[in-house]
Amino acid sequence: MISIALFGVLALVAIAPIAVATSASPNATGIVYGACLIVTLILFLIALEILFAHPAASTVVLPLGLPWLGAHFRIDPLAAFFLVVVNLGGAAASLFALGYGRHEDSPQRVLPFFPVYLATMNLVVLADDAFTFLVSWEFMSLSSWALVIAHHRVQENMRAGYVYLLMAGFGTLTLLLAFGLMAGGDGGYAFDAIRTSHLTIGTSALVLILVLIGAGSKAGLVPLHAWLPLAHPAAPSHVSALMSGVMTKVAVYGFIRIAFDLIGQPQWWWSLVVLAVGGVTAVMGVLYALMQRDLKRVLAYSTIENIGLIFASLGLALAFKAYGMNVAAALALTAALLHVFNHSLFKSLLFFGAGSVQSATGTRDMEQLGGLIHRMPQTAFVFLIGCTAISALPPLNGFVSEWLTFQAILLSPQLPSWGLKLMVPAVGALLALSAALAGACFVRAFGITFLGRPRSPEAEAAQETDTNSLAAMYALAGACLIAGILPGIFIDALAPVVQSLTDGRLPVQTGGQWLSIVPIAESRSSYNGLLVFAFMFITGMVTAFAIHRLASDKIRRGPAWGCGYPDASTLTQYSASSFAQPIRRVFGSVVFGARETGEMPKPGSIAPARLTVRLRDLIWDYAYAPIANAVGVIAERLNYLQFLTIRSYLSLVFGALVILLTVLATWP
């Protein structure tokens, strides 16, 4: 099993040189993405097989990496699940890119890195020792960095790549410190050794904080998220989909692997930290998303929101695990993992849609779009499904995982500790708020982009995207629907994973009547996506049929009602920013330090009235900018040392000598 998976990864790596060799030829795109599609599909099937057949964890040690240790690889249920996520996303992205990649103007900067990127993400999940894990982890960042700066002539892309690489390096070094603590001074880097080694409370706590920072910076936890909304939009869209939909999940995997598997029994207060960070991240992410004009940036920020949701569930799971409430822990963890899977589906779908829009209109600025539903009906349809799913609306899959999270929260009064008693409801409120705001955010995203009237000639002239891209998007949309109406199957598939991490599991779901899901007991709570979908479908159909039969089915077209002022201009429509204005008024002043200044021309003057809105990214201003400035200042100061005279340099040597001698003279 593991060996087949590794061969798959090897095959992916082997595609890269082919890409380099053929990148000149026009059909390189087809070759590379086709190959990637095939390999990732194979890996996907292998992972599925492992997940459902769940055999014992299979391991292999290759004579690579650290010489005396070798490179350990291992597939257990957790790894298998994340392999499913990674390769499903990879396959979809490859399929999408078969069409989308043809619009790429510099393929030689994308093709070689794409398969490597896929391979590294697989390797992170497969790795079973600290060194292999970190190498794959950082190499993953590196290859995605190369993809982010594929369009290197655009300055902001370079900046995005720069910030991204720095944050990635920061995260990796933090994880490195964490592993240093876990492995101790004598280098027990294999995960088995780490599992068996017993850390002191303090050490494991420090490890958890470090991991939360390291994995969190890759996943995009506030306030470590700054790189994400820069880097994800900068990359080509199929890569953005991978980064948002899959790579953040690999980061989540890193957190789960270490926090749930490696460092043993958690302390209850860890969950306080994780819960708080998760809740804040969820709300901040979606609020940022509501303020963006750039479609792909909206999606990137909403990724941050979903990561927050996932981490909140993970925090709950930690809390339950700390108090040995295994079933509850299983519920929370299932919610988290299911959301990982769901988000990877619809976020990829949405990025594909955004990519199609971009290649059709040449812009991602929503203020330039509009009315695309008439010109790209199919894209609009699948994008709408994605929006519905990510807004956690039944009967689609986003709702299921959110519902499970709420069910887990409802179990938490049994937690003994007071901190949690106060924290959990607050986090619950934050999650509910973020869910509602997400709905608003995607009404805005879809409505402004696809509905209304086109706001620019490019949007006017847009064409429906190609079949490959559509195929990828339809596949993901279908997956969203299935995961939404038949969640029981997926929850059961997660059971072995959850069991291995929490020693608890949910009751078998697929056995219940009408395939409804029952986390604890039917008297307590249950949800049946299938029936909800069926009811809505049937009632809707029946109503339509009845009305068209018995009443009228006539249609007349007329101009839209404009209060008697029929306006030709499309600028009088609600724009992205005006749509967000009420919410900005409610939350903005606190979160963004938003200032609105309107200037009205004097009566009689024909000068336009103008409203200027200033939003500040407080986190950037107060966390990142100071650090950057500090580095700049220190560099400036030290730089004087470059321009001294030989005499001054000699005095440095002299000083050093005297100091050392004095140290010696005063040595005890």
Partner: protein, 220 residues
């Protein structure tokens, strides 16, 4: 029972330190050069005495080198340069002589503390010599960093190196001493030639130096 030999060696080494102080005290180049000649001469004497005390004849070579090369040739050459560059009566201390002297005293104290707590095992002659040698080395360095002028810096370097030779000869039966002293003479010759060829004087000058480096960083 070599108390006499010990005292004389002690006296010579100590006077070497004294001369170093005298060098620090000078603020005119010409006077400084004289002082250096004296320094080299004292060194030669001390080396010779060591050669006699340890009856190590090869040390005489070192003594002779010191005498001829350092006490006579180099000072003369430098004097010519100084005259050529017309800086023989220039005052070029970075800060006042008094402060320099104070620092010097501090350095001597430091070297004493370091060395005397050190050589508990070694024999007294070597111990004293080492302490003085270290003092001379440090004073030489101090001179290099407190003088602006290339020539006086070379003088500083040479007195530093005198300290080394003192230490080397003080170390009983140390091989390669002669070779090392020769090597250093070559080195110094290089430096002097360098000064002579490239008119290094202005290259040392603070302001100009900065301008130079700025120039290197900005332009090109």
């Amino acid at each position: 029972m070599h108390s006499i030999t010990f005292d004389i060696a002690h006296m010579l080494a100590g006077s070497l330190v004294l001369v170093s102080f005298l060098q620090l005290y000078q603020d005119r180049l010409s006077a400084l050069l004289n002082m250096f000649a004296l320094h080299a001469f004292v060194l030669a004497a001390s080396v010779a005495w060591q050669a006699y005390a340890q009856d190590a004849p090869h040390l005489y070579i070192t003594a002779v080198i010191a005498l001829i090369f350092k006490a006579i040739v180099i000072p003369l050459a430098l004097r010519r340069i100084v005259i050529k560059l017309g800086i023989h009566r220039e005052i070029e201390n970075v800060f006042g002589v008094g402060l320099a002297m104070l620092l010097g005293i501090g350095l001597v104290a430091l070297s004493m503390v370091v060395m005397l707590r050190v050589t508990s095992g070694a024999d007294p002659l070597a111990r004293e010599d080492l302490a003085f040698a270290l003092a001379v080395v440090l004073l030489g360095l101090l001179m290099m960093v407190t003088r602006r002028n290339a020539v006086s810096q070379v003088v500083g370097f040479m007195s530093l190196e005198n300290g080394l030779v003192l230490a080397a000869t003080g170390a009983k039966g140390m091989p390669l001493v002669v070779e090392i002293s020769i090597a250093f003479s070559v080195l110094i010759a290089f430096i002097v030639i360098g000064i002579f060829l490239f008119r290094i004087r202005e290259r040392f000058d603070t302001v100009d130096m900065q301008a130079m480096d700025r120039f290197r960083e900005e332009q090109r």
